[in-house]
Structures are given as structure tokens and as C-alpha cells.
């Protein structure tokens, strides 16, 4: 258990900057996820912390120690690789014991710790199997066991669940949470899957093109994305975006898109007054658009839009519905009972309390 602190950490490969002046603090025992699209530098950041990549500039602290030039083996870290990187010539038990044997831990202690981690990760009975005789989920757990058994101060996980099928992934997600609660190890987790990031972590660091776009709790990031990129990246289905002009008519603030006009609630208007007359981007999550009659919010004039259904994607309990009005398309999530079919007319009710406004040029959040 320790902290990890990155101060203006950069990584350049050849002439290409991969990570640019990253500032991030991972607290003692905290579970932090680095998330972002592929190529955003998240894995490189993790590998720098692991000591597998050199830090080009900036300072990396593990605990209170400047770790830039500390060899990987002396950093007190352990890493789980995306490919698991199990040693194919060793059995499960030998794989797990590897780190302990290297550290010359006495045999009886090795046996005890291996046995402890085997039961922690439900691997009992698989001790003598080779990696090739294990299923994907089992391999994943062996890789985790191999990293955990050395009591790392920081556990680094590089997309550990991305090679598992959807069902197993959800199971392992819960498993990881359980283990973290039990061991309280500092965990830095890398994934491109925002759902995984949201469900696992105490804090999320969203990365884009080598920079941090936003750091915060999952709820912070979901509720108050700092810019268009984060807003579009986090949440599923993706947030709806509309170009709209902020106007004030007869004392009422509205935002007018090409196809419809919506009223802006007072608190939102207070924050975006400065953009009056300008075109901004309105963002609203599909789960914040309802159907007339089933809406949890009051229908007032200025928050309803008549539209026609174009695509219906049933998910079982819910349906994702894409609707269209005058060539402007947006999605909403409805309960399954809605029985939507294409060509159907529908009146959408926008929960404008939950809308987001972004500056069109900079992409930065304006309100609320």
C-alpha cells in the first residue's frame, strides 16, 4: 500500500509524444482507472510506472521515493498484462510461486502464500495445470494471483478483462472489487471500456492524446464531463449532441436547434447567459429523454419534441430507440413495454435539468 504520484510525466517515442505532462496522484489503497480510446497513452503510462518504459521527462514517485531510475524489480509493484504473459512451461503453482522464489522466500512460506492466493482466487485444484490447459478466465485469475502473491504495494492492471467474454468480464469485475476491498492494495487499472472504468473504480482518469482530459469519481465524470470528448466517451449509449443557438424571447431562455426548440431551466440559463445569441453544443444523455406519458418529469411547454422512430434496438429490459425530426437524429432509452416500431410517431420529453452545454470552438463545458 502506497501512493503513486506523477508530476509532469512525459514520454516521447522517437519524435512522437505519447504521454504529455501528466499530473496524477493515486492515493494509498485507492482504485484508480486510466481510461481512454486506444492510443491515448494509458498503457504507456502504466508501463512507465511499472518500470518497463523510461520516463522521458517529469517525476514519478512511488511512495515518497523518486522512482524514475529505480529498476522494475525494486519498485514494489506487480503487473497483470493484457495477454496475461503466463510462463507456458510452468504449472499454475509454479507461475504463482515465481516471484517468491526469485525473492528467495523460504519454501514453507512460499507454499503457504501460494495456497492462500489459490483459495482467494478460487484456483484450488488447478495447481498442476499448464496455462494451455486453462480457460481464459482461469488464466486471468492465475495472472492476478501471480501478481498479488508478492504483496505488491501497487498493483498495475493492463486491460486484464478485455480478453474475456462479456459474462465472465462482469463476474471478474465483481471479483476484483471484492479483492480490492479485502486487500486494500493501491490499484491502477487501465481499460478502454468506460463501463468497466465506471463500475470498478473509486476515481477515473480519462485520457486523450497523451493528456488527462478529466479526473474524478465515476459519478462526477458522468454528471459533469468537462468537455465534449469526455461527455461522448463516458456513458452508454452515447450522449446526444445538437448544435443550438441560445436565445432569450419574452423573458424565456431557449436553445434552438435546426429542428426544434427547447426551454433552458433557470440555473442553466444563469451559467450560459454570456453565450446568448451564440451557437453552442447541447448534450443530453439518452436516459434523460423520456416518452410522453411515461416521463418522470413534468411536461411543460418547451421540453417536448415530436419525432418519428427510425431504429429500434431491444436490449431485453430496455430498448434503445433512434428517432428523427427534420433530419436531426437522437437516441433515447425506453422501458421494454414501450413497444416501439420504426415509423411510429413519438413525443420525446427532454429532462433539461440534466442537459449539458459545451462551447462549440473549445469543446469546454459551459453549463450547468
Amino acid at each position: 500500500m502506497t501512493t503513486v504520484r506523477l508530476e509532469k510525466v512525459s514520454k516521447t517515442i522517437g519524435a512522437t509524444p505519447v504521454v504529455r505532462e501528466l499530473d496524477l496522484v493515486v492515493g494509498d489503497g485507492e482504485f484508480v482507472t486510466l481510461v481512454g480510446p486506444s492510443g491515448c497513452g494509458k498503457t504507456t503510462t502504466l508501463r512507465m510506472i511499472a518500470g518497463l518504459e523510461e520516463v522521458t521527462s517529469g517525476r514519478l514517485y512511488i511512495g515518497d521515493r523518486l522512482a524514475n531510475d529505480v529498476p522494475s524489480k525494486d519498485r514494489g509493484i506487480a503487473m497483470v498484462f493484457q495477454s496475461y504473459a503466463l510462463f507456458p512451461h510452468m504449472t499454475t503453482a509454479q507461475n504463482i510461486a515465481f516471484g517468491l522464489k526469485i525473492r528467495k522466500v523460504p519454501g514453507d512460506v512460499v507454499a503457504r502464500k501460494v495456497s492462500w492466493v489459490l483459495s482467494l482466487l478460487n484456483l484450488k485444484g488447478l495447481e498442476n495445470r499448464r496455462p494451455r490447459d486453462l480457460s481464459g478466465g482461469q488464466r486471468q485469475r492465475v495472472a492476478l494471483a501471480r501478481a498479488m502473491v508478492v504483496d505488491p504495494e501497487v498493483l498495475l492492471l493492463d486491460e486484464p478483462l478485455s480478453n474475456l467474454d462479456a459474462k465472465l468480464r462482469i463476474k471478474m469485475r465483481a471479483e476484483l472489487k471484492r479483492i480490492h476491498r479485502q486487500l486494500k492494495t493501491t490499484i491502477l487499472y487501465v481499460t478502454h471500456d468506460q463501463v468497466e472504468a465506471m463500475s470498478l473504480s473509486e476515481r477515473i482518469a480519462v485520457m486523450r492524446e497523451g493528456r488527462l482530459a478529466q479526473v474524478g469519481t465515476p459519478l462526477d465524470i458522468y454528471r459533469k464531463p468537462t468537455d465534449l470528448f469526455v461527455a461522448g466517451f463516458v456513458g452508454s449509449p452515447t450522449m446526444n449532441f445538437f448544435d443550438g443557438t441560445i436565445e432569450q424571447k419574452e423573458g424565456k431562455a431557449t436553445i434552438a436547434t435546426r429542428a426544434f426548440e427547447l426551454a433552458l431551466p433557470e440555473p442553466v440559463w444563469q451559467r450560459c447567459k454570456t453565450h446568448k445569441g451564440k451557437t453552442v453544443i447541447l448534450g443530453i444523455r439518452p436516459e434523460h429523454i423520456y416518452r410522453r406519458g411515461s416521463s418522470r418529469i413534468k411536461e411543460v411547454s418547451g421540453n417536448t419534441v415530436k419525432a418519428v422512430v427510425t431504429v429500434v434496438e431491444p436490449l431485453g429490459d430496455r430498448v434503445i430507440v433512434e428517432v428523427e425530426r427534420s433530419d436531426v437524429r437522437f437516441t433515447l432509452v425506453l422501458p421494454e413495454e414501450a413497444r416501439m416500431v420504426p415509423e411510429m410517431a413519438v413525443t420525446a420529453v427532454f429532462d433539461m435539468e440534466h442537459c449539458h452545454l459545451f462551447d462549440r470552438a473549445s469543446g469546454k463545458r459551459i453549463a450547468p
Binding site: A50, L52, M79, F81, A85, F87, P88, I102
Partner: protein
């Protein structure tokens, strides 16, 4: 569909093997041809030339095969990394294969000539590049069994090490880089990574090298034929039995002995490499 395979097996393997076996097991006695007869094998077992050739061949294989493996390992580790001109260096290392063995053998014949060969001149300090007089009288390389076979082995190893290198190189490149990185993060230093990860994972490649190269060593002909003519190995003895002794039956008998030795040694190599891998993992 099977016809080509059957023709190949029949034409190149079965017929030849049967013919060789029949010849080896037929004995021209006073009352006509006796078959089957172990007479040729019994004769060989009492023939000092055969016994000496057998001993020499065993030493030749036992020493030459590991030397080729080590040479292949060293070369492969030299060229596996990323460096400028890697392609060129690799090509140069493969050059020995492009030179016909007979040419290499004859060059070595000239280089190790007696009394005036280049090596003798060099050792006697006749050249400015090596101004040390290590010997006063030239060595008759081909007049000594030890030297003659060493030179032959040198030629054989030099010519064939690119094959070993390529096999080991393929084995090295097949090792997942992340496994090495995983070992590093788990606390292993370079030596431990080599012993516990790289080497065990190279065992299949190394055993391939040992099997292929030991077979080649057992049946090596050109280098000992040119460079150690007075000290025959089994393969060169076959030629002598056929041409000098005018005894094709005995030549075939030697060939069969060689075949059995090759099969036996291959089995041993495979067994040992399996044990070796287990031992490397457990240690």
C-alpha cells in the same frame, strides 16, 4: 491423392532401405548366397578399422553437436536484438551455407596444408599480422587423427552453424516479450530471466538443433573425406568398403549400423531435452 506420397515413400525410402538391408544380410558363402546372415556384422565387429571408425564417429558427434548448438546460441543472441544493419549482419552469418561444402573443405585443405599451409606459416610467425613464433616446426595436420578430425569438425561446424542459428533465432523470437517483462516486474534480474524463462522456452528449439545436427554429424562425409582421409568415420568407411574393399555388402552393413545409431541417438536427445526442461523449471 495419396499416390505422390506413396511413390515418394516407395521410391526414396522403402526400396532403398529394403535393398540395403537385403545386401547387408546376404552372405556369399562357399555353397552360394546365404540369407539372412549376420556374417557381415560379425566380420565388422572384429574389424579394427570399423571399430576405430565407430569410436571416431562417436567422438565426432559427441563433441561436434554441442559445439554447433553453442555456436548457434551465441550467434542467435548476437543478432536477435534491434540494431542498425541487422539484416546485413544476419545475411553475412548465413553466408557459409551458400558456399558448397566441397569448396569449404578444399579451402581448409589448403589452409591446413603441410608443411607450407597458411596456418603453419602463421604459427611460425612468418606473417607480420601475427608476429609470434608459437611453433618451430610445422604441424602435419592431416598426419594426426586428432588434428585431422578437429579440422574436419571445424569445417562442418562453421558451415552448418547458420542452420542452428536460424532455428534458435526462430525460437527466441517466438518467446512473448511480455513474459520477459512479467518476469522483470516480478523481481527477476537478467540472469534469472535467462535461466528460468528464456532457456526453458528455448528447449524445443535447442532439441530440434540437437536432433538435426547430431544426425548430420553421424553421417558427415565431405569434410572428413577431404580433410581426414586416413582416419575414416563410419560414413567415409562406407565409401572405402565399397571402393577399396570392393564389398558392397559390408558397405551396406555399415550403413545399417549408422542408421541404428542415428535412431538411437535421436531418441536419447529427445528424452534428455524433455528431462532438461523439467529440471530447468523445477530448479
Amino acid at each position: 491423392m495419396l499416390a505422390p506420397a506413396v511413390i515418394y515413400l516407395g521410391g526414396f525410402l522403402v526400396i532403398i532401405l529394403v535393398k540395403v538391408s537385403v545386401l547387408a544380410l546376404s552372405y556369399q558363402g562357399a555353397s552360394g548366397v546365404v540369407f539372412p546372415s549376420a556374417q557381415h556384422f560379425m566380420g565388422l565387429s572384429e574389424n579394427p578399422e570399423f571399430r576405430e571408425a565407430l569410436t571416431r564417429t562417436m567422438w565426432f558427434t559427441l563433441v561436434g553437436t554441442p559445439v554447433e548448438l553453442v555456436a548457434g546460441l551465441v550467434l542467435a543472441f548476437l543478432v536477435v536484438g534491434d540494431f542498425k544493419g541487422r539484416g546485413l549482419v544476419r545475411s553475412v552469418f548465413i553466408l557459409p551455407l551458400a558456399i558448397p561444402a566441397i569448396v569449404t573443405a578444399i579451402i581448409l585443405y589448403i589452409v591446413f596444408d603441410f608443411p607450407g599451409g597458411h596456418v603453419n606459416d602463421l604459427l611460425r610467425g612468418c606473417h607480420a599480422v601475427f608476429p609470434f613464433r608459437l611453433i618451430s616446426t610445422p604441424i602435419n595436420w592431416r598426419g594426426s587423427g586428432f588434428f585431422a578430425l578437429m579440422v574436419a569438425m571445424f569445417g562442418k561446424v562453421w558451415r552448418d552453424m547458420p542452420i542452428s542459428m536460424l532455428i534458435i533465432l526462430a525460437g527466441l523470437q517466438a518467446i512473448d516479450k511480455e513474459q520477459i517483462e512479467a518476469a522483470r516486474t516480478l523481481g527477476a534480474n537478467a540472469g534469472q530471466i535467462f535461466l528460468r524463462i528464456t532457456l526453458p522456452l528455448l528447449v524445443p528449439a535447442m532439441s530440434t538443433v540437437l536432433v538435426l545436427r547430431s544426425i548430420e554429424m553421424w553421417k558427415e562425409f565431405i569434410f572428413p573425406f577431404i580433410l581426414a582421409g586416413s582416419y575414416p568415420l563410419l560414413a567415409t568407411l562406407i565409401e572405402r568398403a565399397y571402393h577399396e574393399w570392393r564389398n558392397p555388402n559390408e558397405a551396406c552393413a555399415i550403413a545399417l549400423v549408422l542408421l541404428v545409431l542415428i535412431m538411437g541417438s535421436t531418441g536419447v536427445v529427445l528424452y534428455v531435452s524433455r528431462r532438461l526442461k523439467k529440471w530447468l523449471v523445477a530448479a
